[in-house]
Subunit: 379 residues, 2 copies
């Protein structure tokens, strides 16, 4: 196939180590430099005689890695000293239970905004722990948009407001830091767009995010807590691993932390800082995503994006062609051209191109070219 | 110092990559071959174009790793098909809460055996979730032994029996698979001696273990469940990440698993199998630990072991000299001779030599020689 040859020459062969463009929604692509450093230090970290995976979590060598990782995240997001920064196990999914456990207030009702699969799952877990009010949902339109600030109908006794800043599966993003009316703690699952743009931290009380999309490998989640959230959590008496308070008091070394995953996040954060921080991450995200959305919009209906234009994610682009057979062909040909893991989630179908911080712009260029070519050949 | 020179020649310089003997109680030493394989495949796993850390957990490449890891553990421990094998986040510490959540029966009382720091911690978490009966404790003798099978005083309404097979901090091990009287589910925290000897699986209903001692890196815990335990757990309605049932139904891919840590466990398991399985692991543990216990017993009181002889751990040897000043000197000199992380836990003091499956016998030989020499110079 001529297309394959032509494209390989310009894009794919430029990738080192025989690597491919990995459009996975998570775990996702990591920076090559980060992986190289991890590889080089794998058997003997900086001359200390052992791997990061073998270090006692109470050793000076590991503590240096741990605290530098925390400091780097604080630097990137400008997190004030009186806020908490935790690195916890169990992914964002465990936070679905830990949020109500640590933040719910007796006699008040958690209010959830339901924009897709992740909001939905979080509501499911919260309901197991107490009553929940759903203040807004886009389920009737198959989760294709997010609300404006004044759209949700909050209850009279809001305990906290919960939302998902970017729905990974549907590719729906608020594209802003929403400001909802009630002055209550605001919780955000930011797993799939944290660190992808500058943000106004003051709009949030709890931000949590699995690392495996924009920050590092799977196996650790970051949890950022405002003084108000810490204050509420400090009054709970929970088992060790379910307590934000205990994690915060011990700087997340309340048990053996997932040392390697935290180390990898630390390398990733240093890479983000070196590359230019959140402004540069936002610039690249805009560049990558607009390449693909432009092809969709100019395809005369051959490609159909899932999200409404006002909420188009810059991280996860869910789209399809006019029929499932063509979708299948698209995925197969993309794979053959070095574009991996581009099938859509089974609940939405079609394709999903996830392009997080470390995803090279050249991969978006390749996909855009391929999409145009595929449309021409199959329209 | 002549000693340093002489010993270096015989032992330390034999270690590759400038590595040291790492006596850490966990995370602990990993096999060099395992680390080498991880390093070699770090940027492109077996030609698939990406790191294991970058793979979608739903991809064929990751699923192959995941299921092979489960199969290897089943092979090593001879786990029947109708038992569950889970790989969960949150370490053994999260299981301290998940055990009562998933296994407690309304109207019955969990019975705990308290042999040291870990038993103690587990009791603390269980008490937050319901009443607990302490059937036996060695606290009066500062946790220096474990009970015989008929010593614990169980309550009349036992829900389950819980014990810690090897107390990492105190270095106290049952050295057998206990058989307690009541026919109820038996739960064992086996974090620090799992895979170190053949065992009778039929004596247990729940075995859990953080990976970072005898199986892999930190960030994942293995949970092995009998059909009886699965049956009880199947009746609970818990949040996703706190449910054994949901993890079991999805083979631990109910959320994004800690892929890298599971991959490393898989490599570790293959190494255990290749080296000769549990019989060989037991032989090495016996060899390593008897080298050190022999020096202690022949030191005419210069070294004092913490555990009673009948419960001496083959994994963690807690010992001290006659005074704290000498302990400090011992630790400093050991460090200078390439024996790292040998200080005792603050709650016990003195020294602790942890030597798990991957710890080379040559390291125990070095420590034994050093101990004899140190005693001669300081007696």
């Amino acid at each position: 196939m001529g297309y394959h040859q032509a494209v390989k020459g310009t894009h794919l062969e430029a990738l080192p180590y025989g690597r491919v463009y990995n459009f996975s929604a998570g775990p996702g692509t990591l920076p090559v430099e980060v992986l190289e450093e991890a590889r080089d230090d794998l058997l003997n970290y900086k001359g200390c005689g052992m791997s990061v995976m073998e270090m006692s979590h109470r050793s000076k060598d590991y503590e240096a890695i741990h605290y530098e990782t925390i400091r780097s995240l604080r630097t990137i997001l400008n997190i004030p000293d009186d806020w908490g920064v935790l690195f916890l196990q169990g992914g964002a999914s465990l936070q679905n239970a830990m949020v109500p456990m640590n933040l719910a207030i007796e006699g008040k009702t958690p209010n959830y905004i339901d924009t897709g699969t992740w909001g939905h799952k979080s509501i499911g877990d919260a309901k197991k722990l107490g009553p929940v009010h759903i203040a807004w949902t886009s389920e009737p339109s198959n989760f294709d948009h997010a609300p404006e600030d004044d759209e949700p109908n909050f209850s009279d006794d809001v305990s906290y407001i919960y939302f998902t800043s970017n729905e990974t599966i549907q590719g729906v993003d608020y594209l802003r830091d929403p400001k909802f009316a009630p002055d209550v703690p605001v919780v955000c699952d930011m797993s799939s767009n944290i660190l992808s743009r500058p943000m106004d931290l003051g709009r949030y009380d709890v931000i949590f995010a699995g690392a495996q999309k924009n920050q590092g490998p799977a196996g650790v989640a970051t949890v950022i807590l405002s003084p108000r959230a810490l204050e509420i959590a400090s009054q709970k008496d929970l088992p060790l691993m379910l307590s934000w308070k205990k994690a915060h008091e011990a700087d997340s070394i309340h048990n053996t932390p997932p040392c390697w995953a935290i180390y990898m996040c630390g390398l990733y954060y240093k890479w983000v800082i070196k590359e230019g921080g959140l402004d540069e991450m936002a610039r690249r995200a805009e560049k990558r995503s607009s390449l693909i959305y432009d092809v969709i919009d100019q395809s005369e209906g051959f490609y159909i994006g899932h999200a409404q234009k006002k909420n188009r994610s810059k991280m996860n682009i869910s789209f399809r062609t006019v029929n499932e057979e063509l979708d299948k062909k698209f995925i197969q040909e993309a794979e053959a051209n070095g574009m991996k893991t581009i099938a859509g989630h089974r609940s939405v179908g079609g394709m999903r191109a996830s392009m997080y911080n470390a995803f090279p712009v050249s991969g978006a260029e390749l996909l855009a070219e391929f999409m145009k070519d595929f449309a021409k050949r199959n329209a």
